[in-house]
């Protein structure tokens, strides 16, 4: 990730400095953005009303053929990665890229005013939510962060259309209830011409078949980071993860701060359907996780990367992009990356997809469309991918990587082989939600007791 800002010089581990500076700069940007917005609002109110559309006609870029562009950088990539979701067995490789050159739409619509985005932490390249948005789109970005989908939904529903956000990034399974509650606004698709760049595999998902409300931002999976200097047992499966967490790494383990993932670990390890609603499955999970597993947990942490670098954890459950960022953080902290190993969860693990959406009552939907559309253009999408480390799901990713990011490091942590994707499962929101939340509270209480 070459485009990170200069670290602030303070008495801190280098990895932590990065964290501070990244957030601090974003927040500074956000603060000043708010101020400029205020000034602008005082100056003229017509500014945002008339967005100029300098519609560069869709042009063809790249034109790399999929067959010749299999990336040499990606260890395990196989054509276009097939991200099948929720039972759809569609994904065989290279569906869209198989015949002839791939063409991309690269329309950039200028807009204006301020764009308020509510998203996950460290999820966009700072320049994409900063200077570049300003120069390319004439948009001033202001970014806020949440840590769970429930958090996002609570904020939007309590504000009831006055949250002030223009773009939000929920995970797929949560979208239906958001639509049902009237929290999302329909896209004006004429303002999203670049949507054609998204691989068909990632369009028309179960939660929004027509992509009327949402479009894929990126998708990823769950695995672990382990410090092999401290853990001698090799970890190959979730069963090994659990055994090590309760053994060698006990007391230095972090797990993702979502009930679904912590229970998922148990279900995946034991070959139980992740979306099970059976009482006996949930009872068994509760018994094991609360009575036996909880006391070994050091922290519930959805972004363990910086704390891996500062030495807080020996074993961490992590999303692939954050795990990839951990390697960078360790390098920046002059730590030894060679002792750390990433492993993708087996025999089963998660597949999640986050989506750009526009919340109801968005003050600046024009800018929201312009920004989302811009993020769907190949160069910006890949630039962003280099930062967050998740597959952004455009057509012919290998070709795009070769063209825009030939120096991409650890691409095996971003792109997965078909065989790996086949083991990934998508979460569904079921009748077990309350029970899962209840079990999760018990795990947390037990871990603290």
């Amino acid at each position: 990730m070459p485009s990170r800002p200069e670290p602030i010089k303070i008495l801190a581990p280098v990895g932590y400095r990065e964290h501070l500076s990244r957030r601090a700069l974003l927040q500074l940007g956000a603060g000043s953005a708010g101020l400029t917005a205020l000034l602008a609002a005082c100056g003229s109110s017509t500014k945002t009303a008339a967005p100029t559309t300098t519609a560069a006609a869709p042009t063809t870029t790249g034109a790399t053929t999929a067959t010749t562009s299999a990336p040499t950088t990606a260890g395990t990539t196989a054509g276009t990665t097939a991200g099948t979701t929720a039972g759809t067995t569609a994904g065989t490789t290279g569906t869209t890229a198989a015949s002839g050159p791939v063409t991309y739409s690269t329309v950039v619509n200028k807009s204006g005013g301020t764009l308020n985005m509510y998203t996950w932490g460290a999820y966009n390249d700072p320049s994409i939510v900063g200077d570049l948005a300003q120069t390319d789109l004439n948009i001033t970005m202001k970014v806020d962060y949440y840590t769970s989908n429930e958090d996002l939904i609570t904020k939007l529903s309590t504000a009831n259309g006055s949250s002030g956000f223009d773009v939000v990034v929920p995970t797929g399974p949560y979208i239906p209830q958001m639509i049902q509650k009237g929290l999302l606004e329909k896209f004006d698709k004429s303002k999203l011409p670049n949507i054609v760049n998204v691989d068909k595999l990632y369009l028309g998902q179960d939660w929004d078949k027509g992509n009327d409300y949402s479009v894929c931002k990126d998708w990823g999976s769950t695995g672990w980071m382990v410090n092999t200097a401290k853990v001698k047992t090799p970890i190959k499966t979730w069963n090994d993860f659990i055994a090590v967490a309760m053994g060698e790494a006990s007391g230095n383990v972090s797990v993702l701060d979502t009930g679904a993932n912590v229970l998922g670990m148990y279900f995946w390890a034991n070959g139980i359907d992740w979306n099970t609603e059976k009482k006996e499955d949930l009872d068994a999970a509760e018994k094991f996780l609360v009575d036996q597993f909880a006391s070994h947990i050091k922290a519930f942490d959805s972004y363990p990367s910086t704390k891996i670098a500062t030495g807080d954890y020996t074993l961490s459950m992590a999303w692939n992009g954050d795990a990839r960022a951990a390697f960078q953080d360790i390098e920046d902290a002059k730590g030894d990356t060679s002792v750390w190993k990433w492993g993708l969860g087996t025999p089963n693990t998660e597949l999640w997809m986050d989506n750009y959406c526009i919340p109801t009552g968005s003050p600046n939907p024009d800018a929201a469309h312009a920004w989302i559309n811009w993020l769907l253009s190949p160069d910006i999408s890949i630039k962003d991918l280099k930062y967050h480390g998740y597959n952004s799901g455009l057509k012919d990713m290998p070709g795009l990587i070769t063209k825009y990011a030939p120096d991409l490091k650890r691409s095996d942590m971003i792109f997965f082989a078909d065989a790996q994707v086949a083991t990934m499962r998508t979460q569904r929101i079921t009748s077990a939600q309350s029970r899962i939340a209840d079990i999760y509270s018990k795990i947390k209480a037990k871990a603290g007791g």
């Binding site: 807080d312 309350s434 603290g448």
Partner: protein, 310 residues
């Protein structure tokens, strides 16, 4: 009292005196009473995520209290109480000498500066100050390396993500709220009272124990209230530094509201917490009053006793 000496006022029309408290009353009703009433109301409902506000009030019940009265609640509540009580005791023990020093020992011209120094840290956001603890406490951090190089500790610092970290930071975060009321109380004690005590033969310790300390009582009470109650509800410190081991009740309530979208259960836990804190304060007040009563009885000297002495 000088009231009786004031010249008789002319009769004039004037609004009732509580009008002055009007803004405060409105504010409290809107932003304190009303939310608490809602919390109590919601605590009898059931979770319903299909609604914009995920609470269904069609069949009110005590179900949430039944669920909240679980071992989960008690484990976390006990941990919270332990942290809050320990921290209150520590802030008092650490804060009292500071306040005493400021009130009696420091020259007038330095006092304002020293008081300002106590307040200055709160110019920075509570969250940032808490987050800042992660820097010296980081296992791979510079501070940890130095301590190891000097041979003061073996192996990296391992305080982060434990209850100790929460304890340290919570004392730091609330120390100012203890020192200020203590200082105000001590500062108001007239020097002549302490002098009189000495004139009547009391030593330094006796003067402190029987004159200064009782007069500082209201300050101590204010300090304890100002620190103990917010500590019980604090979730920032626990969330930022506590990891799994430092889980506090505030974080648990937050988890129900934002994580599980279970507002009714979160409300029920919140109500239980309010009641529990009130109960504990009640017990505390009872204990203090009991001690005062006993002391008063023991120290009471009757005329007969005095006569017997002479």
């Amino acid at each position: 009292m000088t009231a009786s000496l004031a010249p008789p006022r002319k009769r004039q029309l004037h609004a009732p005196k509580f009008i002055l408290a009007g803004p405060a009353i409105v504010w409290w009703v809107l932003f304190f009473i009303a939310p608490i009433v809602f919390v109590i109301y919601y605590s009898f409902g059931t979770k319903d995520t299909t609604k914009l506000l995920p609470v269904n009030m069609s069949s009110p019940s005590l179900h949430n209290y039944h669920q909240a009265f679980s071992s989960t609640f008690f484990t976390t509540f006990k941990a919270t109480l332990k942290i809050a009580i320990t921290a209150t005791v520590l802030t008092t023990v650490i804060g009292f000498p500071v306040a005493y020093f400021l009130a009696f020992k420091v020259k007038e011209k330095w006092r304002a500066i020293l008081l300002a120094l106590i307040i200055v840290p709160s110019f920075t956001s509570f969250l940032i100050r808490t987050l800042a603890w992660r820097i010296p406490l980081a296992p791979n951090g510079q501070f940890s390396t130095w301590l190891q190089d000097w041979g003061l500790i073996h192996g990296p610092i391992s305080i982060l993500e434990t209850r100790t970290a929460v304890q340290i930071a919570i004392v730091y975060n609330y120390l100012g709220f203890m020192i200020l009321p203590l200082f105000v109380a001590l500062d108001r004690i007239e020097g002549v009272l302490r002098e009189a005590s000495k004139d009547l033969g009391a030593g330094r310790i006796a003067t402190f124990a029987q004159v200064t300390l009782p007069l500082a009582g209201p300050g101590i009470a204010a300090g304890v209230l100002l620190t103990f109650i917010p500590m019980c509800g604090d979730y920032v410190t626990a969330t930022v530094l506590g990891g799994a081991k430092g889980n506090m009740i505030g974080a648990m309530i937050d988890q129900q509201f934002r994580g599980a979208q279970d507002w009714p259960l979160g409300s029920a836990i919140a109500v239980l917490m309010i009641l529990a804190v009130l109960l504990i304060l009640g017990i505390g007040v009872g204990l203090v009053m009991g001690v005062q009563y006993v002391l008063k009885r023991r120290r009471r000297v009757t005329i007969a006793q005095l006569e017997a002495l002479t």
